[in-house]
């Protein structure tokens, strides 16, 4: 009888008749189903695999499986020169190659302790912010697709195309740039670059409003994202979240402000965090909002950079580029604010070689994704898709 009562606490239903316990029904729970979501699934954004345990449509447990895109980035770095690592960094977060190069370049410059021309800094910030906008456009567009809205995606890609052609004009490549070098740039920007960038800025301002009206303010979109996948600020910090994810939880943390690098301290821009009016702090909508608002801030930064930029007279983009990068023995950790969060490089040098002894990258997506298990518990499958989309993962950076 006691056994039955104990069982009654679980999945078996019992009832009392006088002093006797009568078994009503054994194991009311339905069978759980293992659902392999990915690596070939439209909304896992690449080759992420989630092994879900589902009870009907409710996901009781989700385990991410990684490594389908592993390319030994860190081992490769140990076998090439410092300068030759840069093309590899492009392939980490392939949607924001400029930002990855930027992070790597400032890390090695920290190790070398070299001074770089001021114009280089401005150009770096411009291309990095342009790339941030492009990356956020992909994030927002694909998030729309995840929730079933196809049109915003194509609007985003139309505008992203302009950025890509601008960056192609400057560097010669559309996605994998190899433009920001240690100590400088591959080339100076083309003659009319600033004018065309300003044209883009004036063109793009109204488009952000259009996107906001089409997607962010959409009743169904809000219903699908508001209050879904809430991550409290303290848990987010414990997980090591960064970037729009952490800001979505209400923490005003932006490395461009909190650990300033390059010329960011001279520039005037806001760090957008949700105020809890249109979204619940920490939910999917907040993360989406942060990205949408950051695009406006990036436009502001680009405008200021173009106004303040020193002229190209007597400028050589490679003047400070060392012939051979051979830092003193030591180690350094450098980080930059990427579209997806903090991208850090930890580099060890033995002082003799022109190749890094160790090059570890701290990937923001990987850290952000680690909370998936917590976030997905008890969610419906459509909400799981919404959550993955709001994390905005790029598998190139997760698997490295």
């Amino acid at each position: 009888m006691q056994e039955l009562e104990r069982a009654g606490m679980g999945s078996t239903r019992v009832t009392r008749k006088g002093n006797n316990v009568v078994l009503l029904e054994k194991d009311l729970q339905t069978e759980q189903m293992v659902l392999a979501m990915g690596p070939q699934h439209p909304s896992t954004h690449g080759v992420l695999k989630l092994e879900c345990l589902t009870d009907g449509e409710v996901v009781t447990h989700a385990e991410p499986y990684l490594g389908y895109l592993h390319r030994c980035f860190e081992k490769c770095c140990e076998n090439v020169d410092y300068q030759a690592v840069i093309p590899y960094t492009d392939r980490l977060d392939y949607l924001a190659g400029m930002n990855s190069e930027f992070a790597y370049a400032i890390t090695v410059e920290k190790l070398l302790d070299i001074e770089i021309p001021r114009r280089v800094e401005f150009i770096r910030v411009i291309v990095a912010e342009l790339n941030r906008i492009a990356s956020h456009l992909v994030a927002i567009g694909t998030y729309g697709i995840d929730l079933g809205a196809f049109t915003p995606f194509l609007f985003c890609f139309r505008d992203r195309e302009i950025i890509l052609s601008l960056l192609e004009w400057a560097s010669g490549a559309r996605m994998l740039y190899n433009y920001i070098w240690v100590g400088g740039l591959a080339y100076d920007v083309p003659a009319d670059f600033n004018k065309r960038v300003m044209e883009f800025v004036t063109y793009f301002r109204p488009k952000t409003v259009e996107l906001y009206k089409l997607l962010t303010e959409n009743e169904i979109f809000v219903k699908r994202t508001r209050g879904i996948g809430i991550m409290p600020a303290d848990v987010a910090i414990n997980y090591g979240w960064s970037g729009p994810m952490l800001r979505g939880s209400g923490v005003k943390w932006d490395l461009r402000r909190n650990d300033p690098y390059s010329i960011y301290p001279e520039l005037d821009f806001e760090v957008p965090v949700p105020d809890g009016k249109v979204s619940d702090i920490g939910d999917c909508l907040s993360r989406h909002l942060v990205r949408a608002l950051e695009m406006d801030e990036s436009l502001k930064i680009i405008e200021q950079c173009i106004q303040k930029m020193p002229s190209s007279e007597g400028f050589n983009a490679r003047s400070a580029v060392p012939k051979r990068v051979r830092p003193k023995a030591g180690e350094v950790y450098g980080r930059a604010e990427n579209p997806r969060g903090e991208l850090g490089f930890y580099i060890q040098s033995d002082g003799k070689s022109t190749k890094p002894l160790r090059c570890k990258s701290r990937s923001s997506c990987f850290v952000n994704l680690s909370a998936m298990k917590d976030l997905s518990k008890g969610q419906l499958i459509p909400d799981l898709v919404a959550i993955i989309g709001s994390i905005d993962i790029v598998l190139g950076e997760i698997d490295r």
């Binding site: 809205a149 699908r224 459509p382």
Partner: protein, 358 residues
């Protein structure tokens, strides 16, 4: 030419093996099949062009002028594809699934009056038949989803069945409002009751002050019944890969795809028949300009109903390319807690209107 065609059709009418009017059935079926096939061929083409227009693209441009023949090329391509049946699938269910789906969506065409002199089967319970026959699609979807032996397909099928069965209730009640105003379930009679020299003013939508409510309810519910956005959760490609037809390829896939467009036109035609006068011209007579009389007639009828149907298909596409998708529970909430109560309200109000106001 005309004479020989007449003689040919009369000979066909006389074809009654074993006392069954098979010839008559064939005679009615030929134009119906053509209307259905044309509407869905250009439905698919229109969808691609309209979505392209909304998304700043060109859409199909290569096959024929402006890509007009794209759908035909697609069908030809799909015909040549290998017909794959997964080894672990339930072969019987897997094969009959698309067929049942296709039949279910096209059977309702039989009772749609395309003009004053052309209706496939003039049933006196035509509307009831049209509502009921759509439910056959559920069997096809369930067979396809279960027979595929794929978890995503199963999810899609379960969702789809839940959705279609639920949304039939508000849809049917909304249509009943129209039937009450007409006092008959015969589709042809419902249409005839809406004709008159004032054109659109005779349509049921403008005949009573509350008709817009069942009209709106039926339109929303019909979106869910044919699995169109924002209610396309059974085939939600970002969640369930492709829902119940994940495993289908080649012509079986094409059949499912065409069935979807077939039912899109079917619900659009039903809503135009019950609320917007079917084959009646919407143009009113203005003084001596007998616009209504000029634009009515058997051939004009076909034109009007197809135009009205295409208008609703356009609205469906417009919605699809604008809105995100609802979640499963939100969909059910909308059906049971919003649409169904309002459908009952409109039912009662229409009943009062019909009884107490002329």
């Amino acid at each position: 030419m005309g004479n020989s065609l007449n003689a040919w059709s009369e000979a066909l009418v006389g074809f009654t093996p074993m006392g069954l009017p098979l010839g008559l059935v064939i005679l009615a079926a030929i134009p119906l099949v053509f209307i259905a096939l044309y509407s869905l061929t250009y439905g698919v083409y229109g969808e691609r062009k309209i979505s392209a227009f909304m998304q700043d693209r060109l859409g199909p441009m290569e096959v024929g002028k402006w890509g007009i023949l794209q759908t035909i090329a697609d069908i030809l391509k799909l015909l040549q594809k290998e017909d794959i049946v997964p080894t672990s699938a339930d072969k019987f269910l897997f094969v009959i699934g698309p067929g049942v789906l296709f039949v279910g969506s096209f059977l309702a065409y039989a009772v749609l009056p395309f003009s004053s002199s052309f209706i496939g089967a003039s049933l006196n319970v035509g509307l009831f038949f049209a509502i009921g026959i759509v439910a056959i699609e559920v069997v096809g979807i369930l067979a396809a989803g279960w027979g595929s032996n794929n978890k995503w397909s199963l999810y899609g099928a379960v969702r789809s069945v839940a959705q279609i069965v639920s949304y039939e209730i508000p849809a049917a009640i909304a249509l009943l409002c129209g039937a009450m105003m007409a006092g008959t379930l015969d589709m042809q009679k419902i249409t005839m009751l809406q004709s008159g020299s004032y054109g659109f003013a005779h349509f049921f939508l403008f005949q009573s002050p509350i008709a817009w409510l069942p009209f709106l309810i039926y339109f929303i519910a019909s979106l869910a019944e044919v699995n169109r956005a924002p209610f396309d959760i059974p085939e939600a490609e970002s969640e369930l890969v492709a829902g119940y037809f994940t495993e289908y390829s080649g012509m079986k896939f094409a059949v499912i795809f065409l069935a979807e467009y077939g039912s899109m036109f079917m619900v659009s035609a039903i809503i135009s028949i019950v609320f917007l006068g079917g084959w009646n011209s919407p143009l009113p007579d203005i003084g001596s300009f007998a616009l209504n009389a000029w634009t009515n007639g058997p051939v004009w009828g076909v034109f009007w109903i197809i135009m009205k149907g295409f208008f609703f298909i356009f609205v469906q596409m417009w919605l699809r390319w604008t809105l995100p998708r609802l979640r499963v529970d939100q969909l059910m909430y909308l059906c049971w807690k919003v649409l169904t109560p309002f459908a009952f309200v409109s039912f009662v109000l229409t009943a009062i209107w019909v009884i107490y106001v002329p």
